[in-house]
Subunit: 478 residues, 2 copies
């Protein structure tokens, strides 16, 4: 048992040091690694396989709502970035600038895209002519660069992968509907596939996207009680269209500005997967997103018939699930520790005694529950187990979020809760950014969102005591 | 018929101006567009859908030979790029340099990756320890930047999309096997899926990749007789490993350098698809790669029952093929011209008389052949038609390549053939780069490859008359 103990001991426990636990899981589960380029990471095969599954699942959902994938340039001329004033103000301080191409200094510097609103607008200004060209529902999968000072794997890196959808519509109403449609799509994806419960709502003006009229967000809660913004959807109104002159000729022959939206989910969602579901043995992946759903482990493989039976089981299960078999000469306990570190939803153990009894053992990653199943019924029982696990993971995360969501009706109560209880605090707000600033300065908590599901907790702002306008979720955030 | 004629008239004919025909097809088929960023293009939904199909098909084939996808940083520190001398010499003159990050000037400039050998080597130098860690068969899908002076859509742009595989092996032999395995995989993909016949061979030292010991290539012939390098695979020996100190501890406890390969296919293959199969009506897509395989077009849709029957056919065919229906109010002839421009392999026409006769008309894009099929047997007949078309497209392109491949045994004959006959010239070569230089300077033809299928055409070099060492394919190239 020495070896597998050692493997497990290499992870710091969540309780001891959550940040270190997170970094340990990233590395030991083989998700990513540091690179020699400061602030940039390498996404290793296992981490990238999760991202590919996320891509496939989102693409499937995107396609149902008319999204088409495209590819825009990676670089943006400075003059283009500057066209929309709020937008440039938000992004200019954190972009990387290309100043030389080949052996020549460029006449105009180009930034590596931090996001591509400007490129899409520039393209749409030439591509859209008539109402017949609308709507345009385009999306691209790419990487973007933002020159962050402090970085953490997946959560904050100078380069990250994402999808960014950019749409153009004939009317303000259609743009608003698309903005909310995509937010609900994200929420559904997070809850149904990643088993991550979310709070859906609208960002305050202070927290909204640079250039947006409205930003909607799905916020999720990590196991340390901190919030992670897990997907955002922005309604730009006609602001960008006016800045970039994106117009169309309507049925009545008049020239009109289009209304635009954008929305995105990034590789930081892998950070959320780790921090919502992981435990002190490593990663725990929801079955619907796991690159490997089942790991077959032969016990006492040197005994006659074991390897054959294990391989037979592997082949049978492969027809329905993404299945691997560990036939290395490591000790079973070591193999268990390894596949637990990687968060593989279920393992199937089969040894000489099992074979004699015509059974195998299914072990759930999240609860360690052992389910004895006739080998003949293994496929059905693995399926049931995976479905149950998916549901239980969501329910558990949902309960955790509810248990760690508090109400504060006075500022003293608010400060005390933020200081002593990890989680979200629901409290009323007057709508004044000054109160947001004060709360952030004094407690480090930020407004996460004004949830769609508003509640009336009290009449007055928790900070200043003036008349309240909205209930806000507050929390410390990644 | 005025409208559809107009649509077709918008394309220049191949014979009149092949380059303009190419650009016209790119734009009119909706594959790509220019952007405001000089030398960079926008890949539009239809072009990107072809790329996604290429990705899916290659990923499927990659998986079978143990390839794992990863993601490396987009930027490379100058010091890292400089570690392998041939490599930096090859790429430094054509990279884009990031010199500022956020508001600060960078202490060391970073180039946007033109290719990622250096990043993979740097990573492998930390990631590989023991013989147990080998082989590493990693690949990434990404975009790269090379500061080209003259650009053309898909064929040569400052940014292009590609996959780049990078492997590390314990032995030189294994590296050589992998290099050739991937070349054959590319050849098979090009021939079986894209219906593009290829010549497989090895590049001369002059034409090989910067830093490689050997470069293998698949060369294909465009309809104007020019060559297009359609995929390459490089064997680096242990050159990069020595420069980057990528070592492993072997079974005997000795420290050894790894042997490495890299291989890639880019979006320029979409250029090949256009130029191998296209005609004066636009694109012609091989059924196995077409985003839309079947377009259903109702004729006289206002007549009772037509729309319903067309939709029924669309739904039936959708179960087996990627099928669309054009229910716009455009005239049928206009619709035909549109779907022909997009190269959709077959269209299915159905009108009142067809319905009465219980039939529909299948029209092949490549030959315009009309196949009358009972509606009940439409699915089988469409399948047969698509299969036949895929095979015919390959056979036609193969015959074209063979018909435009010439032999030259004297320099006069060589020069005359290159000057007057578009296509490849097979000729013997002494192995001296000086002859290659002379041929290029005097004829603009370059050595495409020394084919695996060597022939003995004569005893002497076509250029200098000295003893010949190899047969070479020569041609003008994209």
């Amino acid at each position: 048992m020495a070896k597998e103990k050692k493997l497990v001991e290499q992870i710091t426990s969540m309780e001891e040091d959550f940040a270190q636990w997170y970094t340990d899981v990233c590395k030991k589960a083989g998700l990513c690694d540091y690179s020699s380029v400061r602030g940039f990471m390498v996404i290793k095969p296992y981490g990238y396989a999760i991202w590919e599954n996320i891509q496939a699942e989102l693409n499937r959902r995107f396609k149902k709502v008319g999204v088409q994938n495209v590819q825009m340039p990676m670089l943006i001329p400075e003059s283009l970035l500057q066209k929309e004033s709020d937008h440039v103000e938000g992004f200019a301080p954190e972009v990387a600038w290309v100043t030389q191409g080949g052996l020549e200094k460029l006449p105009e510097r180009l930034c590596v895209r931090p996001t591509s609103e400007t490129l899409f607008c520039d393209f749409y200004s030439r591509d859209i002519h008539s109402y017949r060209d609308l709507p345009r529902i385009y999306n691209q999968w790419c990487s973007v660069v933002r020159w962050e000072k402090e970085t953490r794997p997946f959560l904050r890196t100078r380069e990250f992968l994402w999808q960014e959808g950019h749409t153009a519509h004939a009317t303000a109403q259609e743009a608003e509907e698309r903005t909310q449609m995509m937010l609900h799509l994200y929420a559904d994806f997070l809850e149904q596939v990643l088993a991550i419960p979310v709070v859906k709502g609208r960002k305050t003006d202070k927290e909204k996207f640079a250039g947006a009229e409205a930003t909607y967000t799905v916020e999720s809660m990590m196991r340390d009680g901190k919030a992670l913004q897990s997907g955002t959807s922005h309604n730009f109104g006609d602001g960008f269209a006016r800045a970039f002159n994106v117009t169309y000729t309507d049925k009545d022959n008049s020239l009109k500005y289009v209304y635009q939206t954008s929305w995105g989910i990034t590789t930081r969602i892998i950070g959320a997967l780790i921090m919502v579901h992981g435990d002190d043995s490593g990663l725990v992946l929801p079955p619907r997103i796991a690159p490997t759903q089942v790991m077959v482990i032969p016990i006492a493989a040197h005994k006659p018939g074991v390897t054959e039976k294990a391989e037979e089981i592997k082949n049978t299960l492969s027809q329905k699930f993404s299945t691997e078999i560990d036939e290395t000469d490591k000790a079973p306990g070591f193999k268990f520790a390894e596949e637990e570190m990687r968060g593989i939803p279920v393992r199937v153990e089969v040894g000489p005694k099992d074979i004699e009894a015509g059974q195998a053992v299914i072990v759930r990653r999240d609860t360690r529950e052992k389910i004895y199943s006739p080998i003949d019924a293994l496929s059905e029982n693995v399926e049931k187990t995976l479905e149950q696990m998916q549901q239980d993971m969501y329910d558990r995360a949902k309960k955790f979020m509810e248990d760690h969501t508090y109400v504060a009706t006075s500022y003293e109560e608010f400060k005390d809760t933020i200081a002593t209880k990890p989680g979200f605090v629901k409290a009323m707000w007057c709508g004044d950014p000054a109160c947001e600033e004060k709360i952030k300065a004094e407690t480090t908590a930020t407004s996460r969102c004004m949830p769609f599901a508003q509640e009336h907790l009290s009449d007055t702002c928790v900070c200043c005591g003036r008349k309240a306008k909205a209930m806000v979720y507050w929390g410390k955030a990644y």
